[in-house]
């Protein structure tokens, strides 16, 4: 019985460590995707400003409250606008940004294809 209790305690301790590590990983991932608005060009994760530090605390709190990654992004987007996200979503003002590489690829491909066919013929 004594051993069983000991085993259970060990399992609980290891599991909570695992959960903490998971949460920490998610927190880092989220803060890496948020832009620090004070020293722009740095993510919240990299920045050490008052603003970024508060944001880190808030992300942790929101994770504890059970919010998902997307809900947390939406929360900050609502407060500060799209600008705070490093990974802009596909919408009216960003479609050019997302579609341009595809367009370039297709155009380049078409030119190469044309030249290739022409040479072959």
């Amino acid at each position: 019985m004594k051993y069983l209790n000991f085993l259970i305690i060990i399992i609980i301790v290891f599991n909570s460590n695992f959960l903490n590590a998971q949460e920490q990983k998610l927190k880092n991932e989220i803060t890496k995707n948020l832009r620090c608005l004070v020293c722009q060009g740095q993510s919240v994760y990299d920045s050490d400003t008052e603003f970024a530090n508060s944001l880190k605390i808030l992300v942790e709190r929101k994770l504890d409250e059970g919010l998902s990654e997307k809900q947390i992004y939406d929360f900050f987007k609502e407060k500060y606008g799209e600008w705070i996200l490093y990974d802009p979503q596909f919408n009216k003002s960003t479609y050019f940004l997302w579609l341009l590489p595809v367009l370039m690829f297709l155009l380049g491909g078409a030119i190469i294809f044309k030249l290739f066919i022409k040479k072959k013929n």
Binding site: L58, W83, L107
Partner: protein
């Protein structure tokens, strides 16, 4: 002939691209927050600065009434500049202070020295309430009516913002 057409399409495409990017260069590439926001005020709970008692935001802001919420700190130099303007606004509107990442002793010293324009002061020791408001530094001031943010003033208040606030709350 076909190569020529293809070449022209190519040129036009890059001209259009150049135009877009050139336009884009003229946009500011730093964060410029919008100041006219018709957003609901956030719900939060905070400790009262004087008594350390917990209070909900619904109890602080009533409908059909103008409020100013001013985020300040004793270590913030521009806050000293705007303090005289807040004192002048004290009679016109209820000013709620949000003491941002401050030491209580320093904040109290600041208020003793410059006088308090605030009807109520809330504490924000870790800066998270300021983020709920969408602020990103001190000082920042929000004009509120009917639990909605009418306007946001980033940086210290000045003569112009004082006149504007007075005009808006008339």
């Amino acid at each position: 002939m076909r190569t020529k057409t293809l070449f022209s399409i190519f040129i036009v495409f890059f001209l259009v691209l150049f135009f877009f990017f050139y336009k884009g260069l003229q946009n500011p590439n730093i964060y410029t927050p919008s100041v006219e926001i018709k957003k609901d005020i956030p719900n939060f709970e905070a400790k009262l600065f004087n008594t350390n008692e917990l209070i909900f935001s619904e109890k602080v802001f009533k409908s059909d009434k103008f409020y100013l919420i001013n985020i300040w700190s004793s270590w913030c130099v521009p806050c000293r500049d705007e303090h005289s303007f807040l004192l002048r606004l004290r009679e016109n509107v209820d000013i709620i202070g949000l003491n941002y990442k401050d030491k209580i002793v320093n904040a109290k010293k600041f208020l003793n020295e410059f006088n308090s324009p605030y009807r109520l002061i809330l504490s924000d020791p870790d800066g998270t309430i300021a983020i709920e408001w969408g602020a990103y530094g001190v000082p920042e001031t929000f004009l509120i009516y009917n639990k909605k943010i009418l306007k946001k003033y980033i940086g210290p208040l000045n003569e112009n913002s004082l006149l504007e606030i007075k005009r808006m709350i008339k």
